[in-house]
Structure formats: structure tokens, C-alpha cells
């Protein structure tokens, strides 16, 4: 058993929607009790993903809330934050309510994030208070950055009054928009226009300055560059209320993957250099980065089997994130779980339900992880409706065996139960 309070050896009894008992040598439980074998496994609070694109409403051919939540449960998640760049955007109470309705009966807790601006167009503030009243805790125009500094300032100020978090996709559009991969030696060689790392640094530094000015809480999505991390580190030291996430693909893949011209490796922000990857790993170790978040971005084949210029950016990640993090980052399991469970739960305001210590009376949102299970990623076998994984064919060590959501085993022995 590993949670924020440490690790210990114990059996866990779940009763109804809560943890009933946690002690060694529990037995029985009476007739009708389901016994899940956790031999050789880590039992942990369920994972929390701050960054999943579930595509519903509007692009159900790529993913639905049901399929995305199933993929999440198979990946060990009991809660995921659904990004608002749907069609229509989740920029009103009506769309948020629709997402919440569709999430009923899903394999995990689906928490819609709201858009900062109407239509994610960066001009008019969306009705954040109405959405916050429905439980929305994170607001973002993700996919787009909030380009206008004045709009971003007002958003931060307004959000601070509601106690919610503003999260930004940091790429300065005038520098980044024309590019399709990291800018540098390789993009120059391949003849693909680049998105320079400074476009991220500039927007991160602007956002940090505005967070300092407003005193508001700021969350930085999917940081990808050493330059951006340096900026976060400095601002932290100055007391700015900032949290930051990084995506698994930025931790184990570099721009070298783009040499194939395979659009499965097209993502925003782009895969960067080995030096950036090393800096991100250092940021995980020294605490500059608070969370590993998937940026799960499903796309149907016809959006990826096209020229690199025309391909949709993004890659799926819910089912591979934990294995990549446990098996390939060289971090202790406790640290990985902090980055994927209780720290993101705190950022998303979900600590009372997810990521908390596994003690009697706590909500039974748990995952059981076999850290030594070796498996090969088969794109077509993913539960996500889309198969655009950058890890197809990769051998991964570490997989979720069971997931318990609200007391129900939604994944048993690597199989989804609903």
C-alpha cells in the first residue's frame, strides 16, 4: 500500500463506497465479497489526470466520455479532468451540465474543465461563476493560449474571487502557430517549420508575471522546455502561486521521433530535445513540476494519415501513462504516485474524493498496480476509441491490474467491467 502517508503492507476491505478496513491479515468479508488478488502489487489511491481531451460533445468519432473514461480506468485513473475544447466548447453551464450528465455511469469521475473565454476565442470571459457553481475547478482555453494579456489578467483576477484555477496552454501564437515541430537543428534539416521553445518561455513568463500581479492561482499545462522550467523555478522562489504539469510523451520522447515524418508524433507543444527532456526529469525530482498529466488527445486515423502539415496535433496517453512513468523515469513509485494521484488531486480540488490516504472511512477510489508486469503496446488493442499512440510496439513495465471507483471494481485483472 502506497499513499501520501507512506507505504505499508496490508489488506484492504472496501465496503460500499468507502474503505472499511486496512490491516494485515484481513480475511473473508462474508458471502458475496469479491476478492481481488493484489499479490506483488502496489495498492494506491486512484490516479487523477488533469488533462484529458474526451471529444464529447462534437467529435464522438475520436472519443466519447464513456470510452475515454474506460481507457482512464484501465490506466488506473479514478478521476480525469475533461478539457473544454469540445464542439461546442464547454464555455457555459449548459455544456458543463451536458458533460456531467454524460459522465454518469462512466468508469471514473469525469470533471469538466471550463473555458476561460467564450468559444475559446480569447476575447470575452466565459461565465465562470455559473460553471464553478456546478463544480468546475479548472478553467482553460487549452489548445489555444489566452493571447491577449489583458484578458488573461482579468481571467486570473476573476478566478481568484471564485477560488478556482486558471490553466494556460503556453505557446506564444505569433511565434508558434506556423510551426509543426520543435524548431532547431532537426526542423531545419527536415524542412518542417518549427515552434521554438522560446514561444513557450515567453508565454510562461507573461503568465507568471500576471499571476504575481493578481495573486491568483495559475496552473501551467504540459510544459515541454528547459526554458519554461527555469521560469517556473524562479517564480516559485518568489512565492508566485503556480503549479505545473508535464506530459509523459515529453518525458520519454524527443523530436528525433519526427525524423520519420509520422504525424503520430505531431503534438503541441512539440516533442523537444534531449536537453529539454533531461531538464523536465530534473523538474520532477526537485519538485518544480507538480503533476504528470496525459494531454490524452484522441484523433481518428483520417486526421493522422495525412501530410504532417495537415495532421491534427496530439496523442492518446491514458492507458500508457502510468507504465511509462513507473518503468522509464527512474523515480521511486511513491514519487510517481504523488505526481499522478494526490498532487494533481489537490490542484483539481478533488482531494476529498481522490488521492487521499487509504484509511477506513476514505472514499474507495483505488488502483492496484503490478509494477513488474511487462507488456507491449498494441495500438489497436487500446480501449480508447482512437489509437494514435506514440508508443505502439513499445515494451512497457508496469500496468494497472485492478481499479476501484466509488467502491466498485471497474477494472478487474486488466479488464474493464463496464
Amino acid at each position: 500500500m502506497v499513499d501520501a502517508s507512506g507505504s505499508r503492507r496490508a489488506d484492504v476491505l472496501v465496503k460500499g463506497e468507502v474503505v472499511g478496513a486496512v490491516e494485515p491479515g484481513l480475511s473473508g468479508g462474508g458471502p458475496g465479497t469479491v476478492v481481488l488478488d493484489a499479490g506483488g502489487c502496489i495498492v494506491a489511491p486512484g490516479l487523477v489526470d488533469l488533462h484529458a481531451h474526451l471529444r464529447e460533445p462534437g467529435a464522438e468519432e475520436a472519443e466519447t466520455i464513456e470510452t475515454g473514461a474506460r481507457a482512464a480506468a484501465l490506466g488506473g485513473y479514478t478521476a480525469i479532468v475533461a478539457m473544454p475544447n469540445t464542439q461546442p466548447a464547454a464555455d457555459s453551464a449548459a455544456v458543463v451540465r451536458q458533460v456531467l450528465d454524460l459522465a454518469k455511469g462512466a468508469c471514473c469521475d469525469v470533471r469538466p474543465a471550463g473555458a476561460i473565454t467564450v468559444g475559446r476565442e480569447g476575447r470575452l470571459l466565459a461565465p465562470m461563476a455559473e460553471m464553478a457553481a456546478l463544480g468546475v475547478q479548472i478553467f482553460t482555453d487549452d489548445g489555444n493560449c489566452v493571447e491577449d494579456a489583458s484578458v488573461m489578467r482579468r481571467a486570473l483576477e476573476y478566478a481568484s474571487g471564485l477560488g478556482v484555477v486558471i490553466a494556460d496552454h503556453c505557446e506564444e501564437p505569433s511565434l508558434a502557430a506556423a510551426g509543426w515541430m520543435n524548431e532547431g537543428e532537426l526542423s531545419s534539416f527536415l524542412g518542417l517549420p518549427g515552434r521554438p521553445a522560446v514561444s513557450e518561455e515567453i508565454m510562461v513568463r507573461r503568465d507568471l508575471a500576471l499571476a504575481r500581479l493578481t495573486g491568483a492561482r495559475l496552473h501551467l499545462l504540459h510544459l515541454s522546455s528547459a526554458l519554461a522550467l527555469d521560469a517556473v523555478r524562479e517564480a516559485r522562489a518568489d512565492g508566485v502561486a503556480v503549479t505545473a504539469e508535464v506530459a509523459p510523451h515529453h518525458l520519454v520522447l524527443t523530436e528525433e521521433a519526427v525524423r520519420s515524418y509520422d504525424p503520430v508524433f505531431k503534438v503541441n507543444p512539440p516533442l523537444r530535445t534531449t536537453a529539454d527532456l533531461v531538464a523536465l526529469l530534473a523538474g520532477l525530482v526537485d519538485g518544480t513540476i507538480d503533476a504528470i498529466a496525459t494531454d490524452h488527445a484522441p484523433h481518428p486515423p483520417e486526421a493522422k494519415q495525412v501530410a504532417f502539415s495537415e495532421a491534427a496535433p496530439g496523442m492518446v496517453g491514458l492507458e500508457t501513462a502510468l507504465g511509462i512513468a513507473l518503468g522509464e523515469l527512474g523515480l521511486p513509485a511513491e514519487r510517481v504516485l504523488a505526481l499522478m494521484s494526490w498532487q494533481p488531486a489537490a490542484i483539481a480540488g478533488l482531494s476529498s474524493l481522490h488521492g487521499g490516504p487509504v484509511v477506513p472511512g476514505a472514499p474507495a477510489n483505488l488502483c492496484v498496480i503490478d509494477p513488474s508486469r511487462r507488456w507491449r503496446v498494441v495500438a489497436a488493442a487500446l480501449a480508447s476509441r482512437s489509437h494514435n499512440t506514440p508508443f505502439a510496439g513499445r515494451e512497457i513495465t508496469g500496468k494497472v491490474r485492478h481499479t476501484i471507483f466509488a467502491g466498485e471494481p471497474v477494472v478487474i485483472a486488466e479488464e474493464a467491467q463496464r
Binding site: E185, G191, L192, P301
Partner: protein
């Protein structure tokens, strides 16, 4: 070892380039015959798949294929119309199912010929319908490469120097010791990327001349020198290779004005007088007279722009023959 595809001029290496140039010599001779046609690729089908308009390059390839007695099909379509449904992969596999031996691919995005080759190889490995193992020839992909342009440029330099000045080329590095300047929009140029590789492989020293905005973000690893001083470079170059400047570069803030570009980087009549007695001036076309090159220079004897076009057919015949031919001698 002949590669299956020609995606980058680097795929050929020094020996491969030399082989193409030698074959091209033969095909220039074929082109002079009353019936400029050989049966070398009879029964083969070549499809030109052009997602970006380029009538000149397409016709050059199609003429080359026809002179080799191949059957020729043409697919043209803007990439945007494709985007409305069928994926690029579907388009390629559909064409392949019609029985195609070579795809000549042009696209505004870098990497499409490599993707096409990958999809064909994938279909071949899967052993499904088609899976014929067709070849792919890159006819220009975005700002990446234009290998046959580089080959015809190497051929033209070598041949014109021999014809005009009696410089018989050292084989296989036929451009040994030459100083070649490439001037203009290197950043967006597939021609520049292929020519940097080909010229340096064949022994030339390459200097890029452009304002920094029109150079790639990084030149690390490129076998080139860089200069902003066009007058000094022109004076000591054996070949001055001018690139076409697209007007939209002004709107994208790469340059203040065409007039300023011509004044600082254009091969004006005055600047052309700095050229040495055995220098050649080249341009991949289409030429914008008065912008990157003065009309009087383009039309002067030092310009080999027309020879480039003429040699294009023979060089493309050589490439198709090399990739698709049986290896038997070129028939009479």
C-alpha cells in the same frame, strides 16, 4: 546497391549520383534521336501524384517516363480537397491498387514522399491487395528536398563546364574544387537543401548567401559557409545559383521589400560583372526577372537556365531507369 526510393539525394551517395549522371549522358543522346524513345520501361506504369501545382516538373517527369516507354498516369489535387474526406494514405493505396510501379510525388509539405513510401512498404509487408513494392520518387516536398532538381543541376554544371571550357570532370566527384554560391530564400527552399547535399557530396564548396531571416533556424551540421556579402562571394564563385523569391515572404516579415532584396541580394547586371570568366549562373525556375536576377543576366551566355530545363528530362529518365529498370543496357 540501388535504393528502392529516391526521397533524398543523400539516398544515392557519391557513387549513386555518379551513376545517374552517367546514365543521363546516354539519355541526352537518346533525346537527340529522330524518335527519342527507348523501350527500357515498357510495361511499367508511372503515376505522377502532384498535390501542389508544378506543371513544369510534372511535364518533365512525364516526358522522361514516356521516352522510356512507360505508361503514365497523372493525379493532381490540392491537398485541401483531399482533406474533405479521404486520407492521403487511402489515396495512395487506391492508386497502387490500379497497378503502379513508381509514384512521382510532389507536395507542399515536407515528408509526404517518405510517408507514401512508408504506406507502400506497410502494404507490402501486410501482403494485402496491391503490395507491389512500387518505388517513390520525391518530386519536391515542402521545404525539404527536390532530389532530381539537384541531380540535373550537378549534371548541368559538369556538362556545361566541359562543353564551354573543356574542363573534363574528375569522376566520380565531378564538382571537385568548385565554389558554388546559393543565393536567396534558403529557409523555404527544397532546392537548396538537396543542392547543398549534392554539391558537397560531389566535392564542391558551398556558400549560402541570404539575409538571416531567409536562412534556416539552424545550420548546424550543414557542410556550408555563410555570407551576407554577395559581391565578395560572386567575385570568387564558379557557379552562382539563385533561388526564386516568393512574394508572400514580404507579408510574413521575412523582408522589408522586393526592391530592397534586389538591391542587396539580387544578381543585377552590375553585380554580374564581378563574375569570373568561367562562371555560370543558374536558377531552378520559374525565374522572376528583375527580382532575384536581372533580365539581361538571365538571357546572357553565362546563364545556363535553359540547359537546366533541357537536362531535366534526361536526368529524370536516368532516375526512373535506375529505380525501375531491369539493369540491362539501355536499348537502342
Amino acid at each position: 546497391m540501388t535504393p528502392r526510393h529516391l526521397l533524398s539525394v543523400a539516398d544515392l551517395g557519391l557513387e549513386g549520383i555518379d551513376e545517374v549522371l552517367r546514365l543521363a549522358d546516354t539519355f541526352v543522346e537518346v533525346g537527340r534521336r529522330p524518335i527519342p524513345r527507348v523501350p527500357a520501361l515498357r510495361g511499367k506504369t508511372v503515376v505522377s501524384v502532384f498535390f501542389e501545382d508544378s506543371t513544369r516538373t510534372r511535364l518533365s517527369f512525364e516526358a522522361a517516363a514516356k521516352r522510356l516507354s512507360a505508361d503514365v498516369m497523372t493525379f493532381t489535387g490540392s491537398s485541401s480537397s483531399l482533406n474533405k474526406g479521404e486520407s492521403l494514405r487511402d489515396t495512395v493505396l487506391t492508386l497502387e491498387a490500379m497497378g503502379v510501379d513508381a509514384f512521382v510525388v510532389r507536395h507542399s509539405c515536407a515528408g509526404v514522399p517518405a510517408q507514401v513510401a512508408g504506406w507502400l512498404e506497410g502494404a507490402r509487408a501486410a501482403g494485402g491487395a496491391g503490395g507491389s513494392g512500387a518505388s517513390v520518387v520525391n518530386a519536391g516536398d515542402g521545404a525539404h528536398e527536390h532530389p532530381t532538381q539537384a541531380l540535373l543541376d550537378c549534371f548541368t554544371i559538369s556538362r556545361e563546364r566541359e562543353r564551354r571550357f573543356g574542363h573534363s570532370p574528375a569522376r566520380p566527384a565531378v564538382l571537385s574544387g568548385l565554389r558554388i554560391a546559393i543565393v536567396g530564400d534558403i529557409r523555404h527552399s527544397r532546392v537548396a537543401r538537396s543542392n547543398v547535399i549534392a554539391f558537397s557530396t560531389l566535392g564542391a564548396t558551398v556558400t549560402l548567401v541570404a539575409p538571416p531571416t531567409l536562412l534556416p533556424p539552424s545550420l548546424s551540421g550543414w557542410p556550408v559557409e555563410v555570407s551576407q556579402d554577395i559581391d565578395a562571394v560572386v567575385a570568387k564563385s564558379d557557379v552562382v545559383y539563385l533561388l526564386r523569391l516568393q512574394s508572400e515572404r514580404m507579408n510574413e516579415q521575412f523582408l522589408p521589400s522586393l526592391r530592397e532584396y534586389t538591391a542587396t541580394f539580387g544578381l543585377t547586371g552590375e553585380r554580374a560583372r564581378l563574375l569570373g570568366p568561367s562562371a555560370l549562373v543558374m536558377h531552378p525556375g520559374p525565374v522572376r526577372r528583375g527580382i532575384e536576377i536581372a533580365a539581361e543576366v538571365a538571357d546572357s551566355p553565362i546563364s545556363v537556365i535553359t540547359a537546366q530545363v533541357a537536362n531535366g528530362v534526361a536526368v529524370r529518365m536516368a532516375v526512373l531507369y535506375l529505380l525501375l529498370g531491369s539493369g540491362a543496357p539501355v536499348g537502342a
